[in-house]
Symmetry: D3
Subunit: 316 residues, 6 copies
Amino acid sequence: MLEHINISDFKDLVGKEITGCYLVTAKELRDGKNDKFLRIRLQDSSGSLAAYVWKDAIKINDLFSEGDVVRVTATVNNYKEQIQLNVAQVRYADKSEYNLDEFISRSDKDPEVMAEQLFGFVDKVENVWLNKLLRSIFEDKELFALFLEAPAAKSWHHNYMHGLLEHTVSVATLCEFVSGLYPVNRNLLLTGALLHDLGKVFEYSTKPVIDFTEIGRLVGHLSLCDQFICEKARLITGFPAEILLNLRHMILAHHGEYEKASVRLPQTLEALVLHLCDNLDAQSVGVAQMLAASPETAVWTEFDKLNNRYYHLTKI
Amino acid sequence: MLEHINISDFKDLVGKEITGCYLVTAKELRDGKNDKFLRIRLQDSSGSLAAYVWKDAIKINDLFSEGDVVRVTATVNNYKEQIQLNVAQVRYADKSEYNLDEFISRSDKDPEVMAEQLFGFVDKVENVWLNKLLRSIFEDKELFALFLEAPAAKSWHHNYMHGLLEHTVSVATLCEFVSGLYPVNRNLLLTGALLHDLGKVFEYSTKPVIDFTEIGRLVGHLSLCDQFICEKARLITGFPAEILLNLRHMILAHHGEYEKASVRLPQTLEALVLHLCDNLDAQSVGVAQMLAASPETAVWTEFDKLNNRYYHLTKI
Amino acid sequence: MLEHINISDFKDLVGKEITGCYLVTAKELRDGKNDKFLRIRLQDSSGSLAAYVWKDAIKINDLFSEGDVVRVTATVNNYKEQIQLNVAQVRYADKSEYNLDEFISRSDKDPEVMAEQLFGFVDKVENVWLNKLLRSIFEDKELFALFLEAPAAKSWHHNYMHGLLEHTVSVATLCEFVSGLYPVNRNLLLTGALLHDLGKVFEYSTKPVIDFTEIGRLVGHLSLCDQFICEKARLITGFPAEILLNLRHMILAHHGEYEKASVRLPQTLEALVLHLCDNLDAQSVGVAQMLAASPETAVWTEFDKLNNRYYHLTKI
Amino acid sequence: MLEHINISDFKDLVGKEITGCYLVTAKELRDGKNDKFLRIRLQDSSGSLAAYVWKDAIKINDLFSEGDVVRVTATVNNYKEQIQLNVAQVRYADKSEYNLDEFISRSDKDPEVMAEQLFGFVDKVENVWLNKLLRSIFEDKELFALFLEAPAAKSWHHNYMHGLLEHTVSVATLCEFVSGLYPVNRNLLLTGALLHDLGKVFEYSTKPVIDFTEIGRLVGHLSLCDQFICEKARLITGFPAEILLNLRHMILAHHGEYEKASVRLPQTLEALVLHLCDNLDAQSVGVAQMLAASPETAVWTEFDKLNNRYYHLTKI
Amino acid sequence: MLEHINISDFKDLVGKEITGCYLVTAKELRDGKNDKFLRIRLQDSSGSLAAYVWKDAIKINDLFSEGDVVRVTATVNNYKEQIQLNVAQVRYADKSEYNLDEFISRSDKDPEVMAEQLFGFVDKVENVWLNKLLRSIFEDKELFALFLEAPAAKSWHHNYMHGLLEHTVSVATLCEFVSGLYPVNRNLLLTGALLHDLGKVFEYSTKPVIDFTEIGRLVGHLSLCDQFICEKARLITGFPAEILLNLRHMILAHHGEYEKASVRLPQTLEALVLHLCDNLDAQSVGVAQMLAASPETAVWTEFDKLNNRYYHLTKI
Amino acid sequence: MLEHINISDFKDLVGKEITGCYLVTAKELRDGKNDKFLRIRLQDSSGSLAAYVWKDAIKINDLFSEGDVVRVTATVNNYKEQIQLNVAQVRYADKSEYNLDEFISRSDKDPEVMAEQLFGFVDKVENVWLNKLLRSIFEDKELFALFLEAPAAKSWHHNYMHGLLEHTVSVATLCEFVSGLYPVNRNLLLTGALLHDLGKVFEYSTKPVIDFTEIGRLVGHLSLCDQFICEKARLITGFPAEILLNLRHMILAHHGEYEKASVRLPQTLEALVLHLCDNLDAQSVGVAQMLAASPETAVWTEFDKLNNRYYHLTKI
């Protein structure tokens, strides 16, 4: 396997030829002056850029699809301050030729640091039953490997590798702080924060493009998590029914409103606070991602169809 | 314990004195010509009527509350074609003095006949896995005893003893018929019909007044049923994941829309048809109950606040 | 006029040249290796397929539009298990050259059998006034010819020839069955089922593409049907006002909710049940059509924008 | 029959005894210092006031109901600037003892003047067909007698005798003015304005309390009007279909939105303008009525539940 | 003026006679065994309790209204673990007899401590313009006196004296914490938090019962605050337009959605985060208040009509 | 600078060559028989038309963008009754080469006549304070120059130069007429009509394409107007608070519903009537514009996505 060169490092290779495997996220046959050319967008975990195939574009167009990984030999060039590739050769790449993890975007934060933070929160849960439950879940190595990698969404907020971990740690951070402000059961709230989106491990498939699994679409991450927690709690002899009931309610109610596919309306203060902290993190990161994706000179972001507005890039 | 006399049989006892235990569903201290009197509404499973306490009303008013069962000695009389009681004595009744089942309204239909119909549908499910699952559930005697008694709602449709069984048999009847009209998997649809509201066994407490349990409010019958089915399926070695997935989806989606507290939107034809048949039975029986409760001379029912309309008593 | 060859029969003609008239439902000028080519989609009542014009594509592109019928001479070929046409000649076809009925899709079911079923339901309506009204409508040959052909929708469910008849028979079938389960007036319910969508005869024009008529858009099929029934009832001396009132209400309320363009909310049990059965058939057939249109290997259908979901192809 | 004394004239009769028949709109048994007393609200077309029965209140309470007309003998008195009655005798009044028209509130405006205005608008409709249609309707004396009396609503705006005429003239006044501002067909718009609420003649019964008729609830005034206009147009040989279509659309669309029980959405400029002028008059008069009903010293009206707000009494 | 005895201290005075002025929040004439009695609810800033007038109840009933302050002489007694008053004398109290501040409930937290916290946040705003603006507002003694006292709502959350200060400090606490998590302009966010509800100073009148002012209803606290900030900023020479624009936007958008009477949708990350933190505090405190108001033995709170649910008292 | 030739005058120049500057509102590279060609849409204040660049289309395509003004030399020709341009030369035009006002569409009505009408309404406001306020605003020449030019919307109704003035005069015309029908304060209503959309002067930038300003998006025209009026009123010594309050309310409430971004709900009759007249003008003109933009032979307009319907071109 070739050593992978990050797209974000191409800026130091202008004029050089590179060879490597990259994910195709868009492909378009365009009309050039005399002939067709092919414009593709290549992505790896460090960023994305445009690449141009000037020869045999029509034929090459049929060799691969969006979502495939291709092996490219190309010259790096700098056109109007944009790094691009002029492609000499490109073909469908076999799975043996690359490491899938290189092609999806991932959290800016170090997953190991975040994992440590997560276990720090687990340690802070003093209720013996809740602590036992959390350990039985997060110390399951197979599951944790999936949890560590998972995104928190297909689009909108945290839609990248480690996004679920990042979001979970953020919500736990918020919930811990907030538990000092309102008369909540801190152990319960923290546990809910740590587990609330666990079902997303089963809801998304992520290699290389994030999409819903069948069970994700037909059952959904709230019920998947509820079901999973019930199973884990059953394995702990004597797990108190009242605690499990409260925990299940927090999971099932964390979307806050039926219209947002919440299974229940929040009916405990802990469930309400969890929902509000989850929402605070999801919305803030979602908008922060849109702002970060805007060119430096922009005054407004792209239009956010989901929320029906543009965002203004505060510059004061 | 006294032998219970049904309220519906009082019409044959006009002028006689009766003694028995009845559920108080309403109580009001009213102004009489010279003094206060107490008007209470008594109910048993056969019907309800008004009873009047003319003496010591203020004192007696404090002896029991709505929702209590009282022991009454009273004379039956007929006032303007309405059977009433003039109460001589009334006091709070001890649980040992009566059989709770006498005081709640129940389905017009014979539960044993309906149970037989239910098992008839079970027999029609030919898929070996689904049949095994249904048997493991309905042949659990303890559970079935609860299922047999349970209501299907607190208010609106089938809000009486055996209501859940009656509704389940109706939905199965509709689904079986409809499976001849559309390209559905008949085994799956029938199983979904038989199990869709099973979670209500845990959602309501029914003695003597129907109300939500704690777990009913905090978790809800869709998730309770989903959870229960997962547990039962796990006990059947080799139960196919794809079948379980389809069944869970039907349970979780049978309310049809998020706004109606559906956990999922119906995404299979079976889930959609189950939702529509469930809705057809619930709505039709709900309105039929309102029409049946109207006096014979009425042209319109009481106002249905939930659906924002009166219903017209068709008379042609 | 040439004898029409059904598109569904092309699979037996691979390698042969055919000549015939077909409806163009899509047309796109595409970039080929060296030149433009034209890809069109042709349809008749038996199915549809892709056809390719490789020569003079730009010029030929201007000769006809989507929605036109063209006369084609082409070779049938089989490309990756898909039957296609390589077009040698194609031109706009004159109305004298073909029979319009060949180009629209139609119900899988035999219209004569369905018509018989319809009259069977008419016979079951025992109320003399309702029976007379039904006969005065369905025995009007001119009207019945239109009714027999009409689609039940422009898109979504039953959007094909005889679709209105198919839907009407289905709703009547459901209503007849359901009238055994709830305390409805069976004669009234059946009559409502048979007449509820009659106004669609005037709401759509269907040759060759289904679209709304002016009166369809400006008045709508509920009011058109109401108006029509009033006229027909007036011609029957002594037609009871109460019956007409109930029938009008069923027609005007069968969409169930104001948001779905219902003129009234269902305020009788018959109107409610009719609405629910209508909805059951429309939704089930709509989804069944989407499932049937999916390739055999698909796991999910196309996205259903109207209902905001994908459907899963149940395979158990 | 006694000569009726208007409630609005009682202020000149303080200290005198009066006898007359009045409509009871509210009745309440209250606790007095030593005994119960009965407080009733009496109404005639000129206004309403409170009346008190101090003796035998419990017995008299049973003699009549809200909605009945009673015959009262009472002394007029002035208590804290409020005219009241101290009742000496009161009993249910027979229909022969009074003229029903005296008991309902009516428009402040002279119906004959308004009728003349209405016919003035009819004369301004120059299109021969529309003019003929309007004459065939408004010159039908029996119908016009009903139209002249009818209210335009049960509650909210114009909920009094001649209210329909008053509203119709207002909407026509607005539409005539507006037809000078926008490119509408003035004849069509004026005709729509004059006929748009005609169906209310059949939708309400008004003696003595305004309520819905059976046909009003089950069919509604939009469809009733549509149906009526179709019948009238059919009687005019050669009435152009296109004109009738436009007129029907205006009637069916004048509520503007499906959520407000409009049969159609306005799809012509005339239908849209009619809807907006209808709405302007209904809303403005509804709020003006609320303001007029407030005591002179009030700063805010009663809470308007329908529109979820208080109104401020502008005083500048 | 008598020295005021707090209602919360009555428990130490059982059997003693007290005299003092208290606010009447409810009043009801009830039927006693032989006679009417008057049950009133008295409130001061420390709590509320029931008081009974057993003699001359009907006459005394007319002497004052709900919302009045009365002077009471009464004996404290303890009935079934509830502290009550048996009233000997009660009359309307003149404003000179009491200090209004004693009669309204107030925050549990010390206003001076909270004021210090508020100024602590002001000090943390490093941007010179924003700091100047905050000082020009909060150092205005007259305004600050009002701000210190004001409630943050009429009902729901923080509906008590100092509630606005308490809510403001909480939102600032949240915003400061959150500014460490997301890429916001901390100075701007903190300033928005401190000023967002300032308009409520003018929106409510609070003595003794919290209600809307005329300008509160007709203009609203968002516009009042916007207007106030513009005026204050104009007085600071050179105040940058871009900063004012961002600040105004935060104020005008902090309700988050048009349906919740937000003037704007949040279109900057700071405006969004402010909205979410405001919401987090308002909702959490609102529910915490409902839970705190429930008896210790309760399992569920009263029904929350605004949010359509009961809340469960977590007890684990 | 060349003398500008109006696009609407091209019909008299068929076969001639013209040179001039025009705004590009659309640009598309299309496939011609042998080569690419460029189709652009050019606009000035008198209309718009299509122009074709047949040579060097790909290269020329890069020389300018939509929204630019270009200098064109072209031959006018008439193709199937459509006036078009065959472009010989085209290049980006410098701001010194043209007068921006020539390129945006403008009201059909003479702005001077409308300005006179506006001042006529100002004269009719008899309340001395309101009159003074209006004069202080409309006699500010700098502001009035902006007001005279401004559009009333970006899309939908009055989205052209002088549109704000035209809309303002229309709403004032309606309000004046309506003030004769309902018990409103005429002075207040007229003032509200004249000022209600004044904030749009600051909300839109208009050269050459209408778009939102930053302050327009972040603050909105309701708050901008409210703020502006407060400032102007402060400059008039003794301006009565009650009048200002009423006026502010009208401005803040004129959108009528929170969902339509109204800051307040109309709570005075004047605010309600202003909202309804504003709506009447906006909707009627919006639909009239759509109808006017349809070809003469059309039966239906383009689909109106905002209002979810087609409009029918009334032809009677």
